[in-house]
Amino acid sequence: MNAVPGTSVYGESLRRFAGKEHRRWDPTRSKLGAGMLRTNGDPAALLPQAGSTVLYLGAGHGTSVSHLYDHLCGQSNRLNGRLVCVDLAPRCLRDLTAMATQRPGLVPVLGDARQHGAWGVLVPTKVPWLFQDVAQAGQVDIFLAACQRFLAPGGVGLLSLKAASERWTGEGEAALFNAVAQRLAEAGLTVVETIDLTGYEDHHRLFHVRNGGLNHA
């Protein structure tokens, strides 16, 4: 459902059902959307509870963020959600800040996803939902550090992993994805599902993890 009726964020189509405007979620543009279509479990399990505070690392131009906002906050943030979006590129933040001016509860942060100290004060309590899509070397380390610091016990973490951003081990993509799943498990996270996004976003996997007693701070 569109939180800002009458506006299309990235050229997606708008449609009215029963007097309410909905936006088409393009799975080829949003890895979160692709994951929801491809998951074997309940697609809703990938989304945070409406009205909670969530953290999004590597927000990009705000395609996924806009849909997440519709779900989390609703029109004029009537559901009272908070969506903290971090990205490093000023060009991306330009689009995000433009979106944020119409969407209370959307908090854009121009910063490095690894430097928690610089923007961590904007996340006063641990979050039940965390998404990361940074596509750079060491993305697993970044994800683990973020989960440790920001993800509440029992919270859902989603890691979108781009195979080409990791060091090529010569054993193929499947081996790489398995190694990542193992590392996540060793860090105390429960890997709920590894979702293959081939077709929507090639050479990408979406790791759905649950924070099972990583730390109970």
């Binding site: 908070r82 000023p90 060009r91 933040l93 330009r94 995000l96 800040t97 944020a100 001016t101 209370p104 509860g105 908090v107 854009p108 942060v109 121009l110 910063g111 928690h116 100290g117 610089a118 923007w119 961590g120 004060v121 904007l122 996340v123 006063p124 309590t125 440790q148 610091r149 920001f150 730390n215 701070a217």
Partner: protein
Amino acid sequence: MWLWYDWRAAAVVDDQGHLVDVIEWDGHMTEHAVVERLRTVARGALIPEAQALAARFPEAKALVHGEPELPATSYPLPSYEQQQLADQAALRLAVEGVQAAASDPDRRLEHLVRGSDELRAHHLTMEARLIEWVGLFFPMTVATDRQAYVRATAQCATSVEFAETMEVEVPPVLPSEVEWRSIQEWAENTANANARLDRMENALRWLAGEHLPSVSALVGPLLAARLCVEAHGRARLARLPSGTVQILGAEKAFFHHLKTGAPSPKHGHIFMHPWISRSPRWVRGKIARMLAGKISIAAKIDAFEGEPWGEAEVAKVEERVEALREANKQPPSRR
């Protein structure tokens, strides 16, 4: 002992997780003040409350909210209204950060260089079409000075007037009035594009002179700007090996060389410089290699904001160019 702080409060915590002392910000919370505080925290500096506590408890280790080392306890976190204020401030901070990106001359140079390239290509095709078009009706006119020819076309309201201006007979087949109007407007646009290109290159020269004073002094601002854009920024240009600077812009030939063993390119964009393009073919590679080395030095001076090169340094480089030309007057004999 730890000194915990966020953007609005600070607390000292002992090893058992008891709050020993707390100071909360009691000032008037304006958006501007919160922005300043978020900026302070992002810098890694202490907010005033934390500074006051640090003076009272010098042994406490200062850590920002959320650091894993901090003991778990109930810290004085912001209220709902305060958090909303912080969100607004964060938005302001993000907008300021985005606006600060406009001060990056690398990005501005890129638009100027690529834009003037596009404009030049556009201008040349328009000019060529105009001359062909007018020449169709007036085969006796000769466009020796192409710019003057374009201007003359733009200024003549009718085709007969054009024939008079160019001092040729009025040919039997003439364009209709509306057709001549199209030709004339096309000519106006062409002349405009030319004037715009001049202005754009002036802007480019000025910005390159500011951003890359030494490289501009050495090889001219237009070439300096192009090298900077091709290297993806001044900082990267300064870090590139001079062998790469030498062949920037000749990537196609270079990778062809790597793939097939064809002769390697000796120069990329720096070929535009008359020291290379006006030298005999067999010394170009030598001059290009030397000049690329000098450009690398100049780029490092610019990137680390040292004393820019002036005429004296450029004159020394020119001496080297002359020496290279002098030492290689004859083409190498082929055996």
